[in-house]
Symmetry: C2
Subunit: 347 residues, 2 copies
């Protein structure tokens, strides 16, 4: 039997909760070099070369951004970092959200957007903690550059920037990379943070993240580490154990405005944090993701960009999927102690 709908990706909204889902049948074609039972860092399937390694530029779509040596040509060697469209996109570039449909009981519209991969090293480095400081910094510069590029398309509302490390965390290739999914809507969890922080601002006149920074510095029990302009803290109500958030000390809602020097400071901090996680949790699978103001926002007084670094230390089960209530088996204060001690041995 032929499935009764076309295979183009589409956004669908759950009629009860309003939750958005992307139905993207093309994703099922994605080859998986990493299997569930594999160790976290694997060098890719041996029957073919890694498409992210230098010399294999023809295995990816054409680059949309690169940091490369002067005089070298796009889609050829000579790069330190490349951004390319995802071969198996969750959303498809169709230029606009026309065709948005709201008739009938269900709400859906075409899965328009952009899905990109940030390839973080020309050579096959699988553990982000092993990237050089320069390559690590370039990642955080590339995030900013791609956010600015997507901001130029008025159909896009939000860019999700994230990294999956290890099969358990959803990675399908071992070579260090991040992803960006540019969406024509503001997704649920970002909306929850925006509206929760706005409520707090209406009540108190202050940014909840600025208050969090002040409170954690003063209480000093979940503080993992700090740099001149940034703070890393154990998440007070983390979903996973050792969940760590990184925030600027000074208020800033839009990541697009980050300076080169702050990006380098952020990269140094993130590299130390993932090295500490590797020590404390024996190279766990993890995700990190950026939360920041939407593309069309002015600077928001109530919101504050931050990264959430989430080691996959447990497997959400029926309780978590059914209620949204997570069980965290390590007190964030105890996890912060472990991470602080591990950081003492890291340059």
């Amino acid at each position: 039997m032929i499935p009764p709908r076309s295979q183009a990706p589409e956004f669908r909204r759950d009629p009860v909760t309003g939750r958005w889902v992307i139905v993207a049948p093309e994703r099922s074609l994605r080859p998986m070099a990493l299997e569930g039972a594999e160790p976290r860092h694997r060098a890719g399937r041996e029957d073919r070369p890694c498409p992210f390694c230098t010399g294999q530029e023809h295995d990816t779509p054409n680059e949309v951004f690169a940091i490369r040596s002067p005089g070298t040509s796009p889609d050829s060697p000579g790069w330190q970092l490349r951004v390319v469209p995802n071969m198996y996109p969750a959303v498809r570039e169709i230029g606009s959200t026309e065709g948005r449909s709201n008739e009938g009981f269900f709400q859906q519209y075409p899965g328009a957007g952009r899905h990109e991969v940030v390839i973080e090293s020309p050579h096959h480095v699988a553990n982000p903690a092993h990237l050089s400081d320069d390559l690590f910094r370039d990642v955080f510069i590339a995030y900013r550059e791609r956010l600015n590029a997507h901001a130029a398309d008025p159909a896009l509302q939000y860019v999700s920037v994230f990294k999956n490390v290890g099969a358990e965390a959803g990675a399908s290739l071992g070579h260090c990379h991040s992803q960006l999914v540019a969406l024509p809507l503001i997704p649920d969890l970002v909306h929850q943070e925006l509206s929760g922080s706005q409520d707090y601002f209406m009540r108190s006149g202050r940014c909840v993240f600025c208050d969090l920074v002040r409170f954690e510095l003063a209480e000093n029990v979940r503080l993992v580490t700090e740099t001149p302009h940034l703070l890393a803290i154990g998440a007070y109500a983390g979903r996973f154990s050792h969940e760590t958030w990184v925030l600027p000390k000074l208020h800033a809602s839009r990541y697009e405005t980050i300076s080169d020097s702050l990006a380098a400071e952020l990269a140094g901090l993130m590299k130390r944090l993932v090295s500490a996680l590797d020590r404390v949790l024996a190279e766990p699978a993890y995700n990190w993701f950026l939360h920041a103001a939407p593309l069309r926002s002015p600077e928001l007084p109530h919101y504050h960009w931050h990264f959430e670094l989430m080691p996959r230390t447990s497997r959400p089960a029926g309780l978590e999927w059914g209620t949204g209530c997570f069980i965290n088996a390590v007190a964030p204060e105890a996890a912060a102690v472990q991470l602080r001690e591990a950081l003492e041995g890291i340059a």
Copy 2:
């Protein structure tokens, strides 16, 4: 260093989103008979007997409910189904939520509640599809009985009823079982459904789930199967492929009111559905969970109890954790076709 907080479980609320998390350090002591790399159905660790098998009643806390042969004694053989407190509870019975604390920046209170295990067979059956029809029915009767028992404690607000099958779905023991976590609060996802369905009711004067039943019966593209009083449909905006919801055709918000005969009809339908999933997806890991009106609710005109059956067909990654937007790689209409075809071969 000594962690600065006690190890008793506590509820914590994220100050930005309001999300509840249970910090339960005792859970980390839980022995895992199922490891990530194991096949779905494994008979337990060989170095010790399964604590859920008949003859091992002394390995579990004392039963709080059982379906057993006349003349047999509690915590001894002769049972078909037992409900026992979880040895490694996510919440701890302390009788009340006194000590609720709301001072300062963060909100927390003691992790009071009850965490129970429903042991579904005296013998070591690992695949629910292999339980007899009678044992399968008893599970849905036991859910009702425990909901009614917990309703007698005024400190409890909601009971999460769920099942984890396979290590990938969070199960730590292979022997067929379900769990109940009775909570002193209404968890986030249930609250979202209650408020989403109330909004719909305010706008339309109708229950969104009743409309869903009518719409899916009329459109007949995501309908998987039906019985006289129940419907199984592919979730229109399912987070995972082949996600299937089961609802009563007639409005009912409280599962506690289910009759013995409807429980048997439900059990028969659920057994056929998990058998169909086993065929289509080669015995996937899965969860099912009940969503129903909270314990203190009267019958609600806008809400409708239902089960969500969620095979773990993909691994949520940075996009899902960072945005709440899931990628489903199989159109629910195509999945419904596959499940309908598989059901044709199942009695």
